[in-house]
Symmetry: C2
Subunit: 212 residues, 2 copies
């Protein structure tokens, strides 16, 4: 390990919360009390588009941790019921901690993309050209569906003045999906150019230089 990397280590005893915890707390930072189930559904129609879509079990786990930390508080509906419906709300401590995380000077870090189609394009020498083209077309179709979902969410959020920032993020996401569509079209063109005129080498073997 290099020295510069060493300097990135944590010295503090209290360990940092993972992004998921902050995201859950972030959902809670908007007015109202809600259940874990509701949080999950909400995330799937908002944060999913640019950040995160966790398993429901993960939401419940994070809510328990947040409550332990005093960042969230819950009230069950039935008095002494086992596993009763539980509505969560953010606490003052939670709001402060979240504001420190979201509005602090710490770097948000680079966006991380995991694009399965692109990995397959990168590995294009292993697939039939027509199969590759079909994958791109499927991707375009799905992206159109996603764009529609973003716009649906935007139609809801766009009305309410309290949702101004979420609407902003969704607007970004709308543009991002439009760009993804253009990227897909360009990819299809590039793919055709590779396959069509010159008929570039699709053979797997034969020697070649090592990368790097």
């Amino acid at each position: 390990m290099t020295n510069s990397q060493k300097q990135k280590k944590q010295e503090s005893g209290k360990r940092e919360l993972p992004p998921t915890a902050w995201a859950v707390l972030g959902l809670l930072s908007f007015p109202g009390e809600r259940t874990g189930y509701e949080l999950k559904k909400w995330a799937d129609s908002s944060l999913r588009f640019f950040y995160w879509s966790p398993a429901i079990s993960q939401i419940y786990a994070e809510l328990r941790r947040l409550e332990e930390l005093g960042y969230a508080a819950s009230a069950r509906s039935g008095p002494e019921e086992v596993r009763a419906k539980r509505r969560y709300a953010i606490t003052e401590a939670g709001r402060e901690a979240l504001a420190g995380w979201a509005g602090g000077t710490a770097d948000a870090g680079p966006p991380v993309l995991k694009h399965g189609l692109l990995l397959r394009v990168w590995l294009g020498h292993l697939a039939e050209p027509e199969r590759l083209r079909a994958m791109v077309d499927e991707h375009l179709e799905r992206t159109r569906g996603e764009l529609a979902a973003v716009r649906e969410a935007l139609a809801e959020a766009g009305e309410v003045p309290e949702w101004a920032f979420p609407a902003l993020a969704l607007r970004w996401s709308e543009r991002q999906h439009l760009a993804e569509l253009e990227l897909g079209e360009a990819l299809r063109t590039d793919l055709a150019a590779l396959d069509g005129p010159a008929g570039v080498a699709r053979q797997a073997d034969g020697d070649a230089p090592t990368p790097g």
Copy 2:
């Protein structure tokens, strides 16, 4: 659990490999033998931009699994050394399995994006407007750096005809970063529009708060 979700369950005994295993095998699918260390460096200058950047320990673990499955084979340099340098190559079985995965009819699934800046924008009500603007600017600066890195990788791959598909993916990534830059600029504009007219009125300006 709904019925439609139930149908997605696996019935097969042999469990599917995670994407990381296929990505490592994918790196190995290009001619030449290489060490885990080299694989990591290569991934960080290629797949990182659109798919994946694993911990080095994860690479070593996957290589061991791949060898156990008979998908990869290794040869150590020193004869009986402990922990000697180990160069890996893909096997025929590995190539077949990979081709089945990458070129098969299975859906690549939707791309997943984790954009820390956007989460913070979504949570904009918790931060100072100027801090938010600074974050966007930092993001633009970093994206410019990433774009330069993509182009550097492209300059290397673009020459060799064997790297035609990797070059295609990198070309996609170049365009994607250009789009990300435009998205960031638009976000800055939207942010200013949100902050400007509703905030303190500047008497000299009057109206027309949207900058070019």
